[in-house]
Symmetry: C2
């Protein structure tokens, strides 16, 4: 295996083979199984396995930790969907919509502990480093989610606030995935930190790209309705970047954001974004973080050949997929 | 220190001195600080410290794990209060009532990871044993909560079902507290298992006692309104024990449980419980589990003197405090 899609297919199979308790505990574990079967790119566990492989060629020892990372990611989706009142996830009812809020809370809690258990199934030699990385990352993810929720009612969110939030909410998990994989593979502390930096920068590029696709993406491949962020008054990179500028566009956008949600608002704000040059600013930011990811990767002791699949991830995740 | 109250006062001080992040993260950490300052007997962390002390006289090495156990316990309270829609906790608004449901979910999640971090601050020599015990316990607590919720809508809950639920929801945490303390103190695997058994049996005795106090307790010291379980149609030890008997009382209780909530229902059902001899059955069960706790304690390698404070906990927690 050396491509992301190979690892992704492998982890998909591992996830499919997990057997959850049944009987009287079906009401606790069935929603977990449901959430874990939802598919997706499995980018985080794949990155973990790939990192383990690159440093030590022992991906099987990293398999459980990879499952743990994916369990953690899906736990956050269960709880985030409750908090955001999102009833749809990957084209299916979210867990609280399919069952109820209590189920999403409790099965989510269970997933967090199952994730921690899976993460702990690593060799003794790296247990402390791995569990510490995992816990630190988890705290950052909660802090990022809290900031994201607080942004909704705040009128003075800056681009820097946004970047901190994304680093916590999205970057930390990709960074931890790469770092934990490297640690299990036996990487030096220096290499592990550089891989973490690679994942973090990849996460920032990826999230800004996601914000960009939400406005300028192709409706047939994006998976969510285009303009959702505009209609939800989300403090996206595009909006904050537009508002940080002086000039008539910023004033006009501020006014247009007060429109009621609907296609008219999306069209108007999108046009103003274009006039304000926001799309170009976004692409520049994505390029900048992609470059930082690649620079961190290059600073590791990995050979150019070993770095190649990681380089392809950056290209794939942040390429212009309009 | 050798009495529960000494340890309890000590851990209270440790908890009071914890500094939580502020600034933009106040909205995440203030509810945690609020929940952790609510007081209570601090029985679980005290038991952990006491066990560490008894086996190795190094309670300071166990302090962080004790904080972790209390963080975990309070995390479950935050989420349970959301699931049970309980707006009051220890005479104050619960977190979701004082803030909102999203805050209770997210600050609760944060507490679980903070708990895991604290639990991991133990010597390397026992890290794996301790974290494994903690995670296994956490899973049992969620399973117990799920069973408890499912009991609400089930008509055929047996006494055995109830005991399994209580062992998971209440016993496992007391058992893990005693076991983790023993492990940090350097106890043998045999001693650690016996201490866990002691905590588990203590938990069962304690919960049945709590059910008994809910009906027969002294309103001035119980802390909750007497008869709450009857009004909430809770499958308590008393109700399940009464219904498991043949005879006219069981039939009458089944009918009386259909009454609307109120003092009339409480009085009627209480009188029927008395006629059915349920109070005595309860006391017998409490005595039986207390004895099992003491037997497990006696089977450890601890001296009679070292066992004494643990014996006093059993006496104190399960004594007839009508």
């Amino acid at each position: 295996m050396n491509k992301l899609s190979d690892y992704s297919a492998h982890i998909e199979k591992v996830l499919r083979d997990i057997e959850y308790p049944g009987g009287v505990l079906t009401s606790l574990y069935e929603p977990i199984s449901y959430a874990m079967q939802a598919g997706g790119k499995r980018i985080r566990p794949s990155l973990l396995l790939m990192a383990a492989d690159s440093f030590g060629l022992k991906a099987e020892e990293a398999e459980s930790a990879a499952v743990g990372i994916e369990l953690f990611h899906n736990f956050t989706l269960l709880h985030d969907d409750v908090m955001d009142a999102s009833d749809v996830r990957r084209g299916r009812p979210s867990v609280h919509a399919r069952w109820d809020v209590n189920t999403a809370i409790l099965s989510g809690d269970t997933m967090l502990t199952l994730a921690t258990q899976a993460i702990c199934r690593v060799p003794d030699s790296c247990l402390r480093e791995v569990i510490d990385t995992f816990n630190r990352m988890a705290i950052r993810v909660y802090e990022g989610q809290r900031l994201d929720m607080d942004f909704e009612t705040s009128e003075d969110v800056t681009l820097d606030d946004y970047l901190r939030m994304v680093a916590d909410k999205t970057g930390a998990l990709l960074g931890a995935s790469a770092r934990i994989g490297a640690l299990i593979g036996g990487a030096s502390e220096k290499d592990a930190s550089r891989m973490e930096e690679y994942g973090m920068m990849l996460g920032l590029a990826f999230q800004i790209q996601d914000d960009w696709l939400d406005v300028f993406g192709d409706p047939s491949t994006f998976g969510k309705p285009i303009g959702g962020d505009i209609n939800n008054n989300k403090k996206s990179y595009l909006l904050l970047s537009a508002l940080s500028q002086e000039g008539p566009e910023a004033v006009a956008i501020r006014e247009a954001m007060k429109f009621p949600a609907g296609p008219g608002k999306v069209t108007t704000v999108t046009r103003l974004f274009e006039k304000a040059g926001v799309s170009e600013k976004c692409r520049a930011a994505i390029n900048s973080y992609s470059k930082k990811a690649l620079a961190a990767l290059k600073a590791t002791s990995l050979s150019e050949e070993a770095r190649e699949p990681f380089r392809l991830i950056v290209e794939k995740l942040t390429g212009r997929k309009k």
